[in-house]
Symmetry: C2
Subunit: 155 residues, 2 copies
DNA sequence: TATTGTTATACTCTATAACTATA
DNA sequence: TATAGTTATAGAGTATAACAATA
């Protein structure tokens, strides 16, 4: 999908401009580049994207199974398996909630926290070459525009 | 990972600046937003990211199994299964290569080509709200900067 | 009754290993 | 011998369905 720009049919839309199509293609290409780097780093540590997201969310929080599942848009059964495997590896721990005896809180272990810190370091190292071709001025502009896009997006 | 900015240790690196860290965080957040949209559209059609990439690559090409696997960074056995399932669904077809009798060429069926066209339409529709908050000037700048980044990246 | 979480089951995606056919 | 592809097998990630314990 990100490897080429096949002939496009945009005539039936009315809202599209060729300029926007270029921007959208660039966004998709950039997204694949960034995700490839993140996925590769995860693979080196035997971590799926979902598990990396779970660990990242738990960095400064302690959450219930259901909240975690909602956060990632997964079913609670899926989260059960994900957390069970992560717990077996010593990355997270479960503890019964004191507010609701049906609920289970999940938190990072010390080992899990160390791993998250390491992942962040490796992520920055891996992504730095991606922006290596831009000068300081362009980097500032790109950061501003992306943040405006993120903050202002509809849907 | 994309949901917050935990305290970072960048002191051991020497190459990092706080500004770059902001840019890298914005790139990651934007990548997750874009991939979420793409993944959701794929899920609506029962397509994994890998299968979407395969179909996209085959849009204007006919490739061997091994080339496809190399393109996606997967093992050839994995590609065998992926293509077998896609073929069963009528999205792609296999044909023996005439140059090398060991090899198998894969190409889109008509149904597969229609699906790719539809995916591209839906992708553009889904991503348009993401850039809705930016004016025409900002869109042009963002497209230029992303393209410069993509073209100029190291690694 | 409704909610929280787990277990049972099935399918996709991925990999390693072993195999067949061709080069 | 090396390469192209498939099949066999195993494990992670995902979902639907059924269940237990608690609210």
């Amino acid at each position: 999908m990100q490897h080429h720009a096949p002939p496009q049919d945009t005539s039936d839309n009315g809202q599209d401009s060729p300029r926007d199509a270029h921007l959208l293609d660039a966004l998709v290409t950039a997204a694949f580049i960034v995700m490839a780097a993140i996925t590769r780093i995860g693979a080196e540590h035997d971590l799926s994207l979902s598990l990396m997201r779970v660990l990242g969310i738990l960095w400064d929080r302690r959450l219930r199974m259901t909240d975690l599942a909602d956060y990632l848009g997964l079913e609670k059964q899926t989260m059960s398996g994900l957390i069970a495997r992560a717990e077996k590896r010593g990355l997270v721990a479960r503890a019964p909630s004191r507010e609701d005896r049906r609920a289970t809180d999940v938190h990072l272990t010390e080992s899990g926290a160390l791993l998250v810190a390491e992942l962040r370091r490796q992520g920055q190292t891996a992504l730095r070459p991606v922006i290596a071709g831009l000068g300081p001025e362009d980097r500032r502009h790109l950061a501003d525009l992306l943040q405006a896009m993120i903050a202002g997006r509809a849907g």
